[in-house]
């Protein structure tokens, strides 16, 4: 029997000026989610159940950008997406365009378990949710004041993007204007909300699973689908490894990032850490992203080429780490 391992993330691409209290809040949430996952693993829950459980927790907490606290579309609404994959047999489920489903990752699981399909979206997904009796709420539930403010800034930033100026957030004067020009997905980092949450797990039987959930890109066009629900891009799991990605969605899709980690392990014989390093270094071109991964041997790894990634990981031998930078 092998050893379990778990990793969680709350998004890649963090504002270097993020206030200390927010960083601490994030670390507390990541720790809590790790503890939930660890407890489940100790009770011998299979990997697929653990990832769903942990991502539900991340969706429910408004701090990160998924479920409640999701980034807003250009119309000020929330459209959520998620995917889940079970390494053995590579079963998978995904959803997009959810507006009333309280826990998108659980609907993705139901698509995997209860339909002959892998991916349902928009009205069809919502209808399926109704028929399955999952918890539904008003779209308002997901919208936070923070994000309403962020959307406004994002729209302003788009109109003055070429100046690389970050709109002043407070009452201070011109000093803020020439802060770091870090951008992700066309938005200044102070406005860009790390988009996604995810969890990867390997249980004692060596089964790997991954799940990812998001509200998507701030100010996105309505109907825009990112990497999170796309198997092979934002999420992937097979016999060897489970991966969940976060960052610039379009870059992750173009590089099929999650599958890439598994492919270099499978076809080039790299181990987990080598694979993660290789993929982040060489497969993203100008894209900015991060990922977490576990292998069937109980290893855990994360990599990112962004300024920070909210993450936490733990292994059965007692190792545990939560970080932002």
């Amino acid at each position: 029997m092998g050893a379990w391992a778990i990793a969680v993330h709350g998004g890649a691409g963090v504002d270097p000026n993020l206030p200390k209290e927010r960083q601490e809040e994030a670390k507390r949430l990541l720790t809590r989610c790790l503890d939930i996952g660890i407890s489940a693993l100790r009770s011998n829950l299979p990997a697929i159940d653990v990832v769903e459980l942990v991502v539900r927790e991340l969706e429910t907490d408004p701090l990160f950008n998924s479920g409640r606290g999701s980034a807003l579309t250009e119309n000020g609404t929330v459209e959520m997406e998620a995917s889940i994959m079970d390494g053995p047999k590579r079963r998978c489920g995904a959803v997009s365009g959810l507006t009333t489903v309280k826990n998108p990752v659980s609907l993705a699981r139901l698509v995997m378990d209860k339909t002959p399909h892998s991916y349902l979206a928009f009205a069809g997904a919502e209808e399926f949710a109704r028929k399955q009796g999952v918890e539904l709420v008003d779209n308002q539930y997901f919208i936070t004041e923070d994000n309403v403010g962020m959307l406004k800034l994002a729209k302003e930033a788009n109109s003055i993007l070429f100046d690389y100026r970050i709109p002043t957030l407070g009452t201070c004067g011109g000093g803020a204007a020439l802060e770091s020009p870090i951008q992700m997905n066309g938005l200044p980092i102070s406005v860009y909300a790390p988009e996604t949450v995810g969890c990867v797990v390997v249980d004692k039987e060596g089964r790997c699973a991954a799940a990812t959930s998001t509200g998507g890109l701030m100010n996105k066009m309505t109907g825009r689908i990112g990497d999170s629900p796309l198997i092979g891009s934002g999420t992937y799991a097979c016999d060897l490894v489970a991966v969940s990605c976060t960052g610039e969605g379009e870059a992750i899709i173009r590089s099929t990032l999650a599958r890439e980690v598994a492919a270099v392990m499978e076809y080039k014989g790299l181990n987990l850490h080598e694979a993660v390093d290789y993929v982040i270094k060489y497969r993203l071109d100008e894209g900015k992203a991060g990922l977490i991964a576990v292998s069937k041997n109980g290893e855990v790894a994360c990599g990112f080429n962004t300024t920070g990634m909210f993450r936490g990981c733990a292994t059965e031998d007692g190792f545990m780490e939560v970080g932002v930078w």
């Binding site: 991916y119 825009r224 173009r254």
Partner: protein, 320 residues
């Protein structure tokens, strides 16, 4: 080295007893679309333009499962999806849940070129199409009597059919049932390379007969049904769920690169690893090679190279 092009009209359980009145129009369609592609390559059009052009032709042809002639959802509606990818830049575009846009592949291209995104779906995709002034029509434009019949039979048999699967016969086939047992129609796709090694791929479909409303298959999922990089361009067809799980299109290129094997070996390797009867693909390499493997009974396909070779086929060819 010269240009090369391959097209498909879907893989599946195409019966060898397919009657001429079902076979000939599809062969003619493949021939015509291939000629359109060849002419475009000869005129030195970029492969991205070539694959879009050819897939538009295939979408407009009512005997293939894309655009007009798309199979129907369980509600009797049409929800089309498509994707396109450029091998050199790796830019890509995809759409799903399109019900009124005459050419979904062109909408996918506009997503790629005119938005900061890669993938738009349902209402958002439809709204974008209108903003861009693309040709839109009533959904009834896409619906053919054959597909209304296919849906009816699928619902009676109470199963979801892949492009060409024979429906389960609960009793001895009557004439109508035999007619239904003819080739179902499938996803369409085109891959092309010019004589400079620029690669492109495009795939388009109506999906699965009797699919749940809102179901998305492999076609718009980059890495599953469609993929191109500097090594090869791939378009897959068959059982969407298996192609997604198998990241089929991406794997052809990955296996070539990481295992250092040829296009033909890589494509065969990938097809071998999806369950029998579930997939086929067409692919061209940057050096002008073509291969079109499938593990179904047949796959409507055609290809041509600059040195004059061309082929149109449905079932196994002797030198596969």
């Amino acid at each position: 080295m010269g240009w090369a092009i391959a097209i498909h009209g879907g893989a599946g359980d195409i019966p060898l007893s397919l009657p001429p009145e079902k076979r000939l129009p599809r062969e003619a369609g493949l021939r015509r679309c291939l000629e359109v592609g060849i002419a475009a390559l000869k005129a030195r059009n970029h492969p991205l333009d070539v694959v879009e052009l050819v897939v538009r032709e295939l979408e407009n042809h009512p005997n293939f499962n894309a655009g007009k002639g798309s199979v129907l959802t369980t509600s009797g509606t049409v929800e089309m999806e498509a994707s396109i990818m450029d091998g050199k830049t790796m830019k890509c575009g995809a759409v799903s849940g399109v019900s009124t846009v005459v050419n979904a592949i062109s909408l996918a291209r506009l997503v790629m070129e005119k938005t900061p995104h890669i993938y738009l779906a349902f209402d958002g995709a439809e709204a974008f199409a209108r903003e861009q002034g693309l040709e839109t029509v009533e959904m009834s434009h896409f619906i053919t009597p054959e597909n209304i019949e296919r849906l009816k039979q699928a619902q009676e048999a109470d199963r979801v059919q892949i492009d060409y699967t024979q429906p389960i016969q609960k009793e001895t086939p009557k004439d109508a049932a035999v007619a239904d047992g003819d080739s179902q129609i499938g996803t369409v796709g085109c891959v092309a390379v010019d004589n400079e090694g620029n690669l492109a791929t495009a795939t388009s479909t109506g999906g699965l007969v009797n699919k749940m409303v809102g179901r998305i298959g492999d076609t718009p999922v980059i890495g599953a049904g469609t993929y191109a990089n500097h090594l090869c361009a791939v378009s897959a067809t068959g059982r969407g769920e298996a192609i997604i799980r198998g990241t089929v299109a991406r794997d052809v290129a990955a296996v070539m690169e990481f295992k250092g094997i040829s296009l033909k070996e890589a494509a065969a390797y990938v097809i071998d690893r999806v369950p029998p009867g579930t997939a086929g693909l067409i692919t061209v390499s940057s050096t002008g090679e073509i291969t079109m493997p499938f593990n179904t009974t047949g796959m409507f396909r055609a290809c041509a190279t600059e040195d004059g070779y061309s082929e149109i086929a449905i079932w196994d060819s002797p030198s596969k």
